[in-house]
Structure formats: C-alpha cells, structure tokens
C-alpha cells in the first residue's frame, strides 16, 4: 500500500511504554503497513486511569488535562492499543473534567476521535484481514473495559480469525475478569490472585498455546501468573499477533 | 412517629432539588393475540412447563367428573372449598360432598378460645378447591382473589390445589391484566398470581416442590357456561365494597 489516505495519532499508554514496548511497535508497524500515516505525539505519559480508579481525582484530573492538551493539537484520530485507557479517554474524561469549562470542548473533540486499536481497524479502516500468518492456537481474552466500557465484542476475534494458519479456540468463561483491575491487584492481592487462578485454569483448559488480549494490564497480569506456574503458553497483544507473518 | 414522617419527607424534598423529574414512560405492551385458541394453547403449555396439571372440559358434567376424579385419585377426605357461587361450576362443592368428602372451614375470629384447635383442623385438609378470576397465557399463571366465601388458605395450605378457570378469563400477559385489574385490586384484600406449585431451590439450587404451599396444582380450564362467572363477580364486587366500608369503620374503633 503506497498511497496514504489515513493518518492517526498513536497514544501508546504508560504500560506499553515501559513494560510492553513491543505492543506499541507492533501497533505502529501494523498501522503503517495498512497505509496509515502515524504520528506519535512526544511527551505522552499516562491517561490518569490508575489515579481515577483509586479515587485520587485531583491527580487524575491533572493527568487528564495534560493528555487532552497533548492529543487535541492534531485533528487526526487517536489510536490507543488498550481497552481500559481508551475507555478512560472516551467516557471518563467527560465526567472527570465536567466542571472545567475551558476543557469542555477539548474533551469532546478528543473523546470523539479516540479509538481502541481493534475498533480503529474495524470501524475506521474497515479491515477484516490484515494479512497476518502464524502457526498458533489462539485463545482470546476480552478485557473488561474494552468489552463492557467501549462495547467492543466481535472485532478482535474476527481479526484473529483472519490470521492464516492460526487456529482460534474458545476460552471457557472468556468474559470473566482476569482479576487485574489496576491497583486492585495489589490492594486486594489475594482476591485478585484467586480470580487470576480461574482465568489461568481456563487458558490451560482451552488448549491454546497463545493467549491474546487488547490491554497491557491484563497481559502483564496473565503473563506473570503463567510464568509463575511455569507454563509455556505465550502471551501476545493483539497488535503483536497481527503483525506476525512468519 | 409524625416527627419522623415530616423529617423523612423533608429530606427527600431537599435532595430532589438537584434531580430533574424524569417523565414516566409508557410500559411496552405486547400486541395481544386475537386468536383465542392460540391463547389457550399457550396458557396450557406454559402452565404445564411450570409443573401444573391442566385438564380441559367443554361440558358441565365432564367438569364435575374430572374434579371428582382428581380428588379421588389423591385420596382426598377433607377439603377447603370456596362457596358454590364463587366457583365457576356451582355444583362442584355439593358433588364433592356427595362423593364423601368432608368440608373444612377456616376458623372464625369470634371464638378465640377454640382457635388453635380449629387451625389444627384446617392443617389436616387434603385439598383446596377454588375458582380463578383470570389466567395469564404467557406465564401459565392463575389469578385468585380473596373475599367472603373465598378463603385464601384454600390455595395455600393443603398439599393439593384444584382451581377452575373459565377460558374467557385468560389474558395474554401480566401487563395486559394489570392494566385492567385496578378495580379488582382495590376491592380485594388479597389478589394472588400463582404460577405453578410451591417450590424452593434453597438447598444447593435443587428444585423441590411443595415446601409450604401445594405440591400439586390442577387447573380445570372450562369452556362451558354453568355459572357465568362475570355475573357472580360483579355481584361480589358490589358486596365487597359495602363490607369494605363496614370493615373500615370497625378498624377505626379498634384503633
């Protein structure tokens, strides 16, 4: 694809930046391969979700304002490779900054053009097959905020289905939370572990050799649990899965 | 007590200032089917799905025969029955008595000293016989109303409940029935919507019937006119209104 008709801003999110840069690079490569001109606004940090979910609203507001200012400079759509950060920007910024008149229209503009990655691929680019190929047995874990916050249910499994040579298997209790929940994983560590155990059992039961999700938080949680169990199931972000071409 | 009333209402009002008054929507009303035979088939199907045994009859003598057979099969000796005028088939009660069944009446509050003995007698009844004021097709529900001559315990206490329902009284849904039953509710102290036999799943979700109420419910769905129920209902409604006034003045005296 040589002709560029789409452009997008990539907001990588703090977890992808520090812990899973491969997912950010894969997103970038994937979008460019599909002919999108990608801008990565420099100076991006964190959307503020951890603080918001912990009730530290003043801190969350500061981060929200910072991120809105950063992203509203360009009119290009914003692509976020994370369901929960996407949900934060699309839905929560409005209530968080509701009392700040100076931000009302900025927040609306940013929220209206923010997409989670799979959403952008299917709704904006209208892509169903990205031409990926790999020999894997894949189970998809729908992360909660992508599923119930942004309402994205079918796009990621459809994209995974299109990978040549891959086999997609269903994950028992797929829509159950993996127990990450941000600071919940530490504040309620024991509960979080019990929820994770159930998810890991389901992954093993599914017979998959690869588990895919669209949220770096859930991936970090699930992967950390699989490593502790000594499992060799590999964990991939959707973007990582979609750029593979053996 | 009055202080609390005022304080509670005041707190509600002061909170309300911040809330916009949402208008009340019209409930979604399914389009009722005009086809009465489909309605009745649906009623029977749903009632059977919740564990009710349904009998149908288009002749008065057949109806009597069915009820006597159900009572006989269950070995019923003692029966709590509604008054003949409150059953769609008025001769049912007499037929049961002629068949050797003994009637049990609820205790009257007047003789308090014999009350517990009379209660104990009620508890030994084997069956209850009632007449429904309505049926709901989409849930298999029967609607019963209490009143003079219509003890509630007849449908609650014995292990077997036999209820006669005239087919003209089957409504498509609860919503349709509720839309029309305002007067019925206003003039009856107890209107019961009964959907199947008494059941519980409190022990590990294992379904068990007959925990407090009847274990077995038989509906006799009749098409014939023996004792046109509409007329007797209208008459009852009038009597009840009079008694309501009596009752209320008595209550005023008590309190």
């Amino acid at each position: 694809m040589s002709e560029t008709i789409f452009s997008a801003q990539l907001f990588a999110t703090c977890l992808v930046d520090a812990i899973r840069p491969a997912a950010g690079l894969a997103t970038l490569r994937l979008l460019e391969r599909l002919g999108v001109k990608v801008i990565v606004p420099s100076g991006q940090t964190c959307c503020g979700q951890p603080a918001f979910n912990s009730g530290c609203l003043a801190d969350a507001r500061a981060m929200a304002r910072y991120t809105v200012d950063l992203l509203e400079k360009s009119p290009a759509p914003i692509v976020v490779p994370s369901g929960s950060c996407g949900d934060m920007i699309v839905h929560r910024y409005r209530e968080l900054l509701a009392d700040e008149l100076a931000y009302a229209s900025k927040v609306e503009r940013v929220a209206a053009r923010t997409y989670e990655l799979s959403q952008y691929l299917s709704d904006v680019l209208k892509v169903q097959d990205v031409g990926a190929r790999c020999r894997r047995t894949i189970a998809y874990h729908p992360s909660c905020h992508l599923l119930r916050g942004l309402g994205v249910r079918s796009a990621p499994p459809q994209l995974l289905d299109s990978i040549a040579d891959a086999r997609c298997v269903s994950l028992p209790g797929a829509e159950d939370c993996c127990g990450f929940g941000g600071t919940f994983a530490v504040k309620m560590g024991e509960l979080s572990s019990a929820m994770l155990d159930r998810k890991l059992d389901a992954i093993v039961e599914s017979g998959a050799d690869t588990v895919v999700a669209c949220d770096a938080g859930c991936l970090m949680h699930i992967e950390g649990g699989l490593k502790r169990r000594g499992s060799n199931v590999s964990v991939r972000h959707l973007a990582e899965g979609l750029v593979e071409s053996e | 007590m009055n202080e609390s009333r005022g304080a509670i209402l005041e707190r509600i009002r002061s909170g309300r200032l911040g809330v916009s008054v949402e208008s009340r929507p019209a409930p979604p009303m399914p389009i009722p089917t005009k086809d009465s035979s489909r309605l009745l088939d649906r009623f029977v199907q749903e009632a059977e799905a919740v564990g009710v045994i349904v009998h149908r009859s288009d002749r008065c003598d057949l109806s009597v025969e069915i009820v006597l057979r159900v009572l006989g099969d269950a070995g019923v000796k003692r029966l709590i029955s509604w008054e003949p005028n409150d059953l769609p088939i008025s001769e049912l009660m007499k037929a049961a008595v002629d068949d050797g069944v003994q009637l049990v009446d609820p205790p009257t509050p007047a003789n308090a000293e014999t009350l517990s003995r009379e209660w104990a007698a009620m508890a030994t009844a084997d069956a209850g016989l009632t007449g429904a004021v309505g049926g709901l097709a989409d849930t298999g529900t029967i609607v019963l109303r209490s009143g003079p001559g219509r003890p509630r315990l007849a449908w609650l206490l014995p292990p077997l409940h036999v209820v006669v329902l005239h087919s003209s009284l089957v409504h498509p849904t609860l919503s349709v029935f509720m839309g029309e039953c305002g007067e019925l509710v206003r003039c009856s102290s107890h209107v019961a919507f009964v959907t199947g036999p008494s059941r519980t799943a409190d022990i590990e979700q294992t379904l068990t019937t007959g925990v407090h109420g009847p274990k077995e419910v038989h509906i006799l769905l009749v098409d014939h006119d023996c004792n046109p129920i509409e007329e007797s209902e209208a008459a009852q409604a009038a009597t009840v209104s009079d008694e309501t006034r009596d009752r209320m003045s008595k209550n005023d005296l008590v309190q």
Binding site: A12, D17, P21, G24, L25, S42, G43, A51, F52, G55, C56, L57, D59, A62, C144, H145, R148, C177, G181, F184, M188, E190, L191, S192, L196, M220, R228 | M1, N2, R5, A7, I12, R13, S23, R24, P27, P106, P109, S146, R152, S175, M178, G182, R186, S189, V191, A192, T195, G196, D202, I203, E204, Q205, T208, G210, V211, H212, T244, R247, M248
Partner: protein, 471 residues
C-alpha cells in the same frame, strides 16, 4: 465462620480458604447466571423492558415524597396503618410496641432484607418474643445461628451435607443429604408455626402508590402464609420501594424474577390491599413500617441511583469477586457489588470504606442489572469520597500525587522510568521479578512482575525520529 471482629481482608482470606464454601458458590452462581440469560431471552424485547423498568424507578425516585404520601393515603383508605421510621431503632420499637400492645407471643417471618438491615429479629427476641423465619433458606441459617449470604438465596454458602447435619442436630430427624426429604422436614416443622403465630412479618417488594397495595413475591409461598394465617400482618418496607401504579408494577415484575432466578414470574406474587374485609381468613390488622435509615439522604447525590435497586441479586451472581468469597466476607447485610455501594452509603459512620475497593471494576454487575444501575461509577464515587475525607491509605495518596507530578512533566516521567528500570534490573531473572518489597509483595506471592523494558516505546520513538532526521 467469619466473625465481625475480623478485618475485611481477613474475612476474604478465610472465605478463599473455605473449600466447602467455594464448591457451594460455584454450583449456585453459575446456575443462576445461565438461568438469568434464558429468562431474559423469553421476553420479546428485554432491552426495551429494562429501559422502561429503569425509567420507572428513576421517575419514582425523583418524586418519591409525592408517591409516598399517595401510598400512605391509599393504605389508610383501605384500612391499613402506615408507620414512619427514621432509623433502625425506631422501626424496631414500632414493631415491638405493636406486638406488646396486642399481646403477641409468637412471630412468623418471611424473608426481608430490611428486617436484616435493622436486626429486627434480635430486637424482638430480646423483647421476649418467639421469632421463626419461614423461608427455607432463612430457616436453615436461623437454625445455624448465621446470617444470610445472598439476597435471594440466603443459605447459598452451605452444602446439602452441611444442611442435612444441621437439621439432624437441631430437629432430631435422621441425617440425610436428600433435599426433598429435608424440605419435607421443614414443611412439617413450619406448618404449626404459621398457624400458631399471632403476628406475621414480611418484607415488601413493591408498594403501589395508586392503590395502596403491597406486592410480595416468593416461590415457596411462605410469605403468602405469613401474611394470611396470623391475626396481624406487619410489612417492613424501605421508603424507596414504591412504584406509581399497577402497570408500573407489571413492568418491574417482568424483570424481577427473570433477573433473580430466570423464572418468568415468581410462583406466588401476592398483591395485598388492606386487611381482610369480611373474608373468612387473612389478617385483621395491616401495618406498614416505612423505613428510611439513611435512604432519603442519598437522593440527589452521586450514589442516589442505588435506590433504584430491586434486590434481584443478579449482580451478586455475575460478580467475579462475589463468586470467589460469597456474601459473608463483606461483613454487611447487603453483599456483592450492590452491597459495596449500599452499605457505605446507608451507614456513613461504619467501617465500610474498604468495600468499594473490593471490585476490579470489570462492569459485569452493570451489564446484568435489570434497571441498569451504574454500580462501577458509584464505587468510583465512593472511593473518591474516601480519599477526599482522608479516610483512605495515605501512601496511596502520596504515591499518586508523586506519579501525577511525574506524569505531567515528560522529562521527569522519563527519569522516573529510568530509575525504576535500574532498580528492577538489579533483581530480575529472565526478565521477571520473582519478589517485590512490601506493599507490592502481594503481587509476587502468586505472580511474577515484569521489569521495565531495556528500551521503552518512547525511547524507541526518539531513536526513530533522530534516525529519520539524519536521512
């Protein structure tokens, strides 16, 4: 068994270690969840009915004072009596006074969350009355001396074997694990209780303002008997439980049973309008106790919507946290997601600010709620209030304050990431940390923690830009 003196986290540990409890929870919540789905599928347009049910509840709450006055006037006009109670103590005194002035000795009860909330049983028993619960599940836990662990299935935490043993111990019947036999035992034990009690106390699912009727639903028929056999019926009702008219009631009933148990309609749906009027049976007196106990204060606040709840229990069954720990671990009468909102909202002085933390905010509760209450949003509002009032963990607050400073200054953020990277890279094994210091050590008890990448995404991007600049 959990004790009230334990902290929430201790109760969670206890529950997670209780194998029997987890078996019982697994069996029950799964079955409830699949039945709910099937139940709603039987409605032609379940989403429209849920929208309508929600609007009815919100509309009623927005004019609650008017509907309550109308309800009171209509209850009175059919010969009933309405009592208003500001708090638990006042409600208990009202019931106790009624019992005393009418020489009541025996009381039979049907399940009522409101009476659990105000601890009515304890008040009546201390007042010298015999009180027996008639719902099978409540009867079982009353025999066991416990409290309900689920809004609609109070004994969900017990296995059949435990219940069989309990009945054998308390009633002297032979031990069995057959639910049918156990149910028959309870039927005969409770029969006399219904017929010999002078007072029956019930809850109220909905009060209908336009007719003064009380709608009460049960599958067992125990509420029907509770409000029929005894001479006096006392109905305990939260002030939020009113609906405007009978057609509104019909909509609420369409979603209540389906969401709770998957049934299209509960077996017994009783509409009670005043005491008996020339009937051969039924109560001679009807008293409605309208309980506030912190509810009126919520109207117009961020958690006001919690008053729209119809107590179906669907959010409990759907909640991955409840599925793990059951109801008792919450330590409060109302458990699960709705309990985590309701409990700290009604009892602001209580030790409940930890409950809103017991959620991963996965949103499963919001998805199943028949009246679409946004429970996660309210959990967030309560968390924010905890921080705002200084009741929360100080270190969390300081931590996020520091994080915010870094996150709004990109150079500082980069430095921060580098420092943490250096720290994590001192201890890693194959790219993972096997142990973290407290308070993060809880993570590494069951999971490994990733180290910061050797090149972060933003570092990669900077290299890329510099690279392209050279071209």
């Amino acid at each position: 068994m959990n004790s009230p003196s334990m902290s929430f986290k201790q109760r969670v540990s206890h529950a997670l270690a209780d194998g029997q409890l987890r078996i019982a929870l697994d069996r029950t919540t799964e079955r409830f969840t699949s039945k709910r789905v099937a139940g709603l599928a039987s409605l032609p347009d379940a989403d429209a009915v849920r929208d309508c049910a929600r609007s009815i509840r919100l509309h009623t709450l927005s004019r609650l004072d008017e509907y309550l006055e109308q309800f009171e006037a209509n209850v009175t006009s059919v010969g009933g009596q309405v009592h208003w109670a500001s708090d638990a103590q006042e409600a208990n005194e009202i019931v106790l006074d009624l019992a005393r002035s009418r020489s009541v000795k025996r009381v039979v009860k049907s399940k009522s969350m409101v009476s659990e909330e105000i601890e009515l049983n304890q008040a009546l028993i201390s007042g010298g009355l015999d009180v027996v619960e008639s719902d099978l599940g409540e009867y079982i836990i009353q025999l066991a001396g416990e409290t309900p662990s689920h809004i609609i299935a109070p004994a969900v935490h017990k296995t059949r074997e435990q219940i069989g043993q309990l009945l054998a111990d308390k009633l002297g019947v032979p031990m069995t694990d057959d639910p049918v036999e156990m149910t028959a035992t309870a039927r005969s034990a409770l029969r006399d209780v219904f017929l010999q009690s002078e007072m029956g106390i019930s809850g109220v699912n909905f009060g209908v303002a336009s007719t003064g009727s009380l709608a009460i639903v049960t599958n067992e028929g125990n509420a029907s008997l509770t409000v029929t056999a005894p001479r006096i019926h006392v109905a305990m009702m939260g002030i939020e439980r009113v609906v405007p008219a009978l057609d509104d009631l019909a909509v609420m009933l369409l979603v209540l049973a389906r969401s709770a148990t998957g049934q299209k309609l509960t077996v017994y749906t009783d509409l009670l309008t005043g005491p008996r009027r020339g009937d051969p049976d039924g109560p001679e007196e009807l008293h409605v106790v309208l309980l506030d106990n912190g509810r009126s204060r919520l109207i117009g606040t961020e958690v006001g919507e919690v008053l729209a709840c119809i107590r179906c229990g669907a959010c409990l069954n759907a909640c991955p946290v409840y599925q793990q720990i059951g109801g008792h671990a919450y330590g409060s009468v109302y458990s699960g997601p709705i309990g985590a909102v309701l409990t700290p909202s009604l009892d602001r002085e209580g030790p409940w600010h930890v409950l809103p933390e017991a959620s991963s905010l996965c949103g499963a509760c919001r998805e199943v709620c028949p009246v679409r209450i946004d429970i996660p949003r309210m959990l967030l509002a309560l968390r924010a209030e905890t921080v705002h009032t200084g009741k929360g963990n100080r270190w969390v607050r300081v931590g996020f304050w520091l994080y915010r400073i870094a996150a709004t200054k990109p150079w500082l953020f980069r430095c921060g990431v580098s420092v943490v990277r250096q720290l994590t890279r001192m201890f890693f094994v194959n790219g993972w940390l096997l142990r973290l210091p407290a308070p993060l050590s809880i993570w590494t008890q069951s999971r490994e923690f990733p180290v910061i990448a050797s090149r972060t995404f933003s570092e990669e991007m900077r290299d890329r830009e510099e690279g392209s600049g050279d071209e």
